[in-house]
Subunit: 466 residues, 2 copies
């Protein structure tokens, strides 16, 4: 770190309560990066863990005055590097602000601090006879603040939507320490610009979220589960299309490709078999779930499913979904991994998976695909040897090829993991020049000094080394 | 209009195809204002009706160069004055851009131009076996572009959400003529800032919407209908709360207060009776609608409903809803009217209606309340004599008192009609100083010259006279 930057950080910290700041290198090492791969990061100069909105506001004001860059951080479970630090930056961790402030069943809402673990909110809503549906894979350790900042998704999105669909209002500390409340506590409201959803998914580049008001929904009925295996990938793709065309909306509609199924078999001895080229996993929590799944079963048969298993039992359903739960762990066992996150129109899923198989064959890389077939959001997972520079380059090449193809199929470069530092180069491709100018205008309007997470989202000369 | 402003308008028009511009005073008179009351307006200097995005872009570039202010306009059916013109402005009407460009059933989306009438999109979606739920009262003549610009609501919102919840992506012409595409065609996507929803509800102050990609949903089942009358308002309020607390989500949950019921009786001879202090109108389109309404019926009985009628028949259901359809027409017959649009947490509906009754009694004004009980969005409708200045002042006073009370009850100044010019003063009360600074920053970032609808949304010295 250059000496003047170090002096600026020291000067800012000197203005803050010492008990919210740490510069202990052992602690700081744990705040350098999130769970992404291929993203640059450095150990930050300091970590701040404020306890109140006022402390966040004071911290931002001090950091702003001294020109110190800030990386806001939830649980650090992100997969795109949005929480990665630079040596000259201070990480602002919201983990101490972890109170569920209110659950209001009649108005179906909850008010929480950003550091609340998502599963804790889910369980608390459940105790009140309601549900908070967003269920990213990291639900047991990710925080609501991080989920809001990245607009996290999950398996329920096909029916319930993503995190942002549940955010009614926010309290946000701006880059200069001003505190703003956006949104509302009512179901409907159109007073002024939708600043709430401008902050949702902005990955800490526009403000620091210090309170979240979320919408809750009635607890759904018990889910019924169906798993179907296919000997041919296009059949599975056509089945997904047929389910959607039939007007059915499952609460889960997942797909595993052949590579993923084999990895799961290898890990678990589950014996799904080498003939399986795709596995569909479906749940419905509709009041008429049995009828919905009977129709899904019919469509699976019609489109050539090899095996179909169903259950109305919760425990049995969880067993049927075991292959989905093991998808990433099983692929991880094969080597180092780079996880992509693209969305395509759901009618193009089979095309994308076929393309990934082609890339795998051509590059000699193992690439498993699993994900949310019901909303077209897939996670091609590239296995490679991180110690081998050629393999690293090949993995990055495959990643970029797949991302490009998703765009070409009418999709997007990121369905739920965000841009972070992993895909800031790709953002410009998707948004085009005017879109990027607009992003820059908004960023400049809200953070004119550019101190908030300056290397995330927007392409910029990269800082930090891996 | 001052001569230099007139010259600027002439100079801008000279750069545009003559067939898209009109300065005929007879035509212009029809473009001076929307359907709101108590909002200033003037006949605009010209009206532009571009046929393509390119023409909108050229128009904006020319108007920007010459510093001419622009009021974008859909069908002019708004109720807050957001489409009201000033003498020095040009109205940009999107009515010629009225093509439904695409309906894609498998990906459950449609792409439309902004001038498409909402009912046309609804019918087209229906032909494809899908539904476009947003149903503002103006659905038969309002346009999709106008609905998006105001984030319009309707009766289905309690289950399906508002217009913005169905917008996946936009094409927008910016204040200087640049064209940007926001959002996506996929179900999920988190690439960059949510610029789509920044434009949704911005009432033509940030850009001109030239194309809309909307999400469609499976066509719902046939709706079952229930109507219940109550001899005491608090009982109706408690019933609404009980329905929500029971975890039920009707597709419609409307309320009419005593004043509105009497007006409907007077107009229609429906004979609902003087004893009725509140009427609840409920529909469910769930697969188990009969069970849902049986439970609603039980809750109505439990909370003291006087009369309950139900029907699973479509035509009979429409008859049961006749009182709701007549609410505004019946109140309109009583005199001039000023329609408010506030949302409160649904647990506070009865309190708000009771307060409105108190204001009515105190001011000697007739004020009917009807609206969307299920989401807390109510329309207190003040009847007065527009020819009497004292009555006008009293009406405005009552309007402001009710709006303030809604805020005090944890609500918002506008649930679905928008801020426009009617409530720009109130926006600052709801948003607070930092919120307004943030609004101003965003506005300045997107429209630095301030030519887009400069008197809507943001409080500013008013222009134009009534």
């Amino acid at each position: 770190m250059d000496p003047s930057a170090a002096a600026r950080v020291r000067a800012a910290l000197a203005e803050l309560p010492p008990e919210i700041a740490t510069t202990d290198p052992d602690i700081l090492a744990g705040y350098a990066r999130d769970q992404s791969r291929f993203t640059p990061s450095e150990t930050p100069a300091a970590m701040l863990a404020p306890r109140t909105t006022d402390e966040v506001a004071s911290a931002m004001a001090a950091l702003r005055r001294h020109g110190v860059t800030v990386v806001p951080r939830g649980a650090g479970s992100g997969l795109s590097g949005a929480a990665n630090a630079t040596a000259e930056s201070v990480v602002l961790s919201l983990h101490r602000m972890d109170a569920i402030l209110e659950v209001d069943p009649t108005n179906r809402l909850a008010v929480v601090q950003p550091g609340v673990v998502t599963a804790a909110l889910r369980d608390r809503a459940s105790s009140a006879g309601l549900a908070y549906p967003p269920d990213p894979g990291s639900v047991e350790f990710a925080t609501v603040g991080g989920n809001v900042a990245t607009n996290a998704g999950g398996m329920c999105c096909v029916k319930y939507g993503v995190t942002g669909d549940f955010v009614l209002g926010l309290e946000v500390v701006l880059a200069d320490g001003r505190v703003v409340r956006t949104g509302r506590r009512t179901v409907k409201g159109v007073a002024g610009y939708d600043l709430t959803h401008l902050f949702v998914g902005s990955e800490g580049t526009l403000g620091v979220i210090t309170e979240v008001t979320v919408r809750l929904v009635p607890a759904p009925g018990p889910a019924h589960t169906l798993v179907a295996s296919f000997a041919a990938l296009p059949d599975a793709g056509r089945t997904v299309t047929a389910i959607v065309d039939a007007g059915l909306t499952p609460s889960m509609l997942e797909i595993l490709d052949r590579t993923t199924v084999r990895a799961v078999d290898a890990m678990s001895g589950m014996g799904l078999g080498d003939d399986v080229h795709a596995l569909l996993l479906v749940q419905s929590d509709d009041p008429d779930a049995d009828e919905v799944l009977a129709r899904v079963e019919g469509l699976c048969e019609q489109h050539g499913a090899a095996d179909i298993a169903t259950s109305a039992d919760r425990a049995e359903g969880a067993m049927l979904l075991e292959a989905r739960r093991l998808a990433l762990p099983a692929l991880e066992r094969l080597g180092d991994w780079l996880l992509d996150d693209v969305s395509v129109p759901r009618s193009r899923i089979a095309e994308l998976i076929a393309f990934v198989e082609e890339v795998g064959a051509r590059s000699g890389l193992t690439i498993g695909v699993f994900g949310h077939a019901g909303d077209g959001n897939l996670h091609p997972t590239i296995i490679f040897d991180d110690a081998d520079p050629a393999a690293r380059a090949a993995a990055r090449g495959a990643f970029d090829e797949i991302t490009e193809r998703a765009l070409h199929l009418g999709g997007t470069i990121t369905g739920e993991h965000g841009v972070g530092r992993l895909k800031s180069g790709w953002l410009a491709v998707e948004q085009g020049p005017v879109g990027m100018e607009l992003h820059a205008s908004v960023k400049a309007a809200l953070d004119p000094a550019g101190i908030l997470n300056p290397f995330a989202v927007m392409p910029r000369e990269a800082a930090g080394s891996r």
